[in-house]
Amino acid sequence: MTTLGRVAVYLVFALAAYAAVGAVVAGLRRDRRVMRSVRNAFAAAFVSALVAIAALEYGLVTNDYSLSVVFEHTSRNLPLVYKMTSLWASQEGSLLLWLTVLTGAAGIVMYQNRHRNRELVPWVAAVLGGIAVFFAGLAAFVSSPFAHVPGAVPADGSGLDPSLQNPYMAAHPPMLYLGYVSMAVPFAFAMAALITRRTDARWLVSVRRWTLVSWTALGIGMLLGAHWAYVEIGWGGYWAWDPVESAALMPWLAATAFLHSVMVQEKKGMLKVWNMVLVIAAFSLCIFGDFLTRSGVVQSVHSFVQSAVGPWLLGFLAVVLAASISLLIVRLPTLRADHKLESVVSREATFLFNNLLLLALAFAVLWGVVFPILSEAARGVRATVATPYYDFFLVIFGLPLLALTGIGPLIAWRRASPGSLWRTFRWPVISGLAGGAFLALLGLGSSPAGLTALSLCVFVTVTIGMEFARGTAARRAIAGGSWPRALRDLVNRNRRRYGGYVVHLAIVLLVVGVTASSAYSSVDEANLGVGQSMRIDGYTLRNTGLFQRRGPNYRLEYVRLQVYKGGKPDGILEPGLRQYDTGQVGNEVDIRSSLLTGTDLYSILQAPDRNGSGVSVKVLVNPAVGLVWLAGVVFALGALITIWPDPREARQLARRYGELLARSEA
């Protein structure tokens, strides 16, 4: 079976190479037959990648310890589902996952465009093929998932790290990979547009949904990872500014910028060069993120061992950047703007400022990740960058960004009338100030940044509410009908705008949750013998006993804490520690979430009672942290509304590109 898998990987490489070369031939000679053959090659490559995955899964599930990957990441007593998800626990296996998603995406792109974009498609295929060749080459020749264990076949495996034995392992990595890999499609289209000098808005149309898919997947992937860290790793927080977390954040920020500036290009024909730069940046950051994770060059709790793949990825990144930037420079004359920016008080300008802030934040994060490497190269000793650095820039760039989220929708294109500005912003500004004053009275002024953030959230929420209200009223004035129906029609006719507003609401929820749970949280530690209690923030917790329990591959020791709020019993927390049979220790935190306020009472058993002085317990109160997870749900909903196909949009496109492209689209 492993031989079949190895053959399948070589086959993917061969098919990708054929596809890349064939696509160039099809593009230069405008040959339809070769193009059909290339399309088939991608489909065959995807099937082949699936076969390789099946072969590796077979090895994982049947405990084939002759394979390094199986030996290093599973053991006989590992539950079946975790044996299966350990496919992407290893560097090599996750490379295979990457390859499968890439060939799958390429196949879908080829299928979607079998009757359109005929001029662009060969070059899209060439770029995607080239990327596939690289990753297939890595899997086939540099870092094979089917490598053998040297020497005799061991009797049992090393086991999977306990922190990976949970359902998040099934969701978080594949979601992130979907995000990273699908960013190759917008990049490929951008390159194809430059190569063919078809820098009209056609490539944007094809690219928008793929960018949305990638952006949504990265966003959900990051939130899944955050939730995993929160409930499983258990230090009380959900984001540690680990380089690998930043690796997903940076392309997400670039993609967010792109999704906004695309609108400016579509409406005003501006920012054409800028959009190209953003797509190149987003894809490059995805590759860079992959490099960070696989190369071991940064200290991270996520990274794989320093493997041979690192230098290759860096080389690939260099080639991607050099080629795409050169191409962009050569094609600069084709990217002239139709209009220019005329007023600072215009929606174009707010989108531009939004972009600048997003990129400034991405750059600050990038610097934080890269600085340790640079300082080591320069001084011999590595300097680290800690949370305060990131928090500073998050606040200083994030708060204006939050303000713009409220300002942008209310400002007209080209030039807002200065006279109408106050009338437009009157209620949101007053609400924001009033909200801020109210929160300050509640004592939230202890954190100025926090108070500002929350006031801005009120401001933004009111502007979004106003947009929905006014839009629905206008719709009702035109078409009559009930309010709910008008609202539904409104959203249906303007999916991008109102889906976008829903996403903005998600961001507001996220900001409230993050602000409340970081700026206004409490934490305390204590050594508690049985019967002793500790107090935190209005709660009292009393140690009512130590217990033990046996699981499939571990022994659990936990302490039962009776919670009291205002003197009355309010539930039980049972934080514990798992001692796995392999010797590792796992942290099992216990969290009580309040549905009403989203506040969590979070308990950690830091050390068991060894010498009679009691167990070491750490408790945190995280206000409103539930909003962070709710934000994820709202985000997905908003993204879905925005991605949803719009027949009206399709008709509009047909009218514009009309019979012209029927020739090149037949």
Binding site: E72, W88, A89, L160, D161, S163, L164, Y168, M169, H172, Y177, G221, G225, W228, A229, I233, W235, D242, V244, T293, Q299, V301, H302, F304, V305, K340, L341, E342, S343, V344, A349, L352, F353, L356, F363, A364, P372, S375, E376, G380, V381, R382, A383, T384, V385, A386, P388, Y389, F392, F393, I396, F397, N527, Q584, V585, N587, Q606, A607, R610, S613
Partner: protein, 129 residues
């Protein structure tokens, strides 16, 4: 772009850059990441200031309070004793590579609470992808 908007955009870019550089100059000295050998040899003043230390655990006693363990350098045989209070990651055990922040005081590395992290050699120590 018309002249006035262009000026405003340039000012915005300029101030973003200025904020960034100002922060770097004023606040970000960056905590050094040193190995045991570098700590012992006082490379770049490591023995004098707060640093993040990395090494392999050779001996650990979880039961004492504060927790004590000994870290050995990755390439040489030099060791240093560490005194630590706070949360201990799942993957902590002897022969693991760890990272901990603190300062060297009287020959013992006194760690900042909750600053202990582990690195698993050939697999994740936490998290996905």
């Amino acid at each position: 772009m018309s002249p006035r908007p262009r000026l405003v955009v340039a000012l915005v870019v300029g101030s973003l850059l200025a904020v960034f550089l100002a922060y770097q100059a004023l606040f970000n000295s960056g905590t050094l990441l040193v190995s045991v050998a570098q700590l012992r040899s006082d490379a770049d003043g490591a023995a004098q200031k707060r640093v993040t230390l990395t090494g392999t655990v050779v001996r650990a006693s979880r039961t004492s309070d504060p927790m004590r363990f000994v870290l050995r350098d990755e390439s040489s045989a030099q060791t240093v004793a560490v005194s630590y209070r706070g949360s201990v990651p799942d993957a902590f055990k002897t022969s693991r590579r760890v990272i901990v922040t603190g300062r060297l005081e009287n020959g013992v590395f006194v760690a900042q609470p909750d600053s202990l992290l582990t690195k698993c050699p050939s697999k994740y120590s936490s998290g996905g992808s």
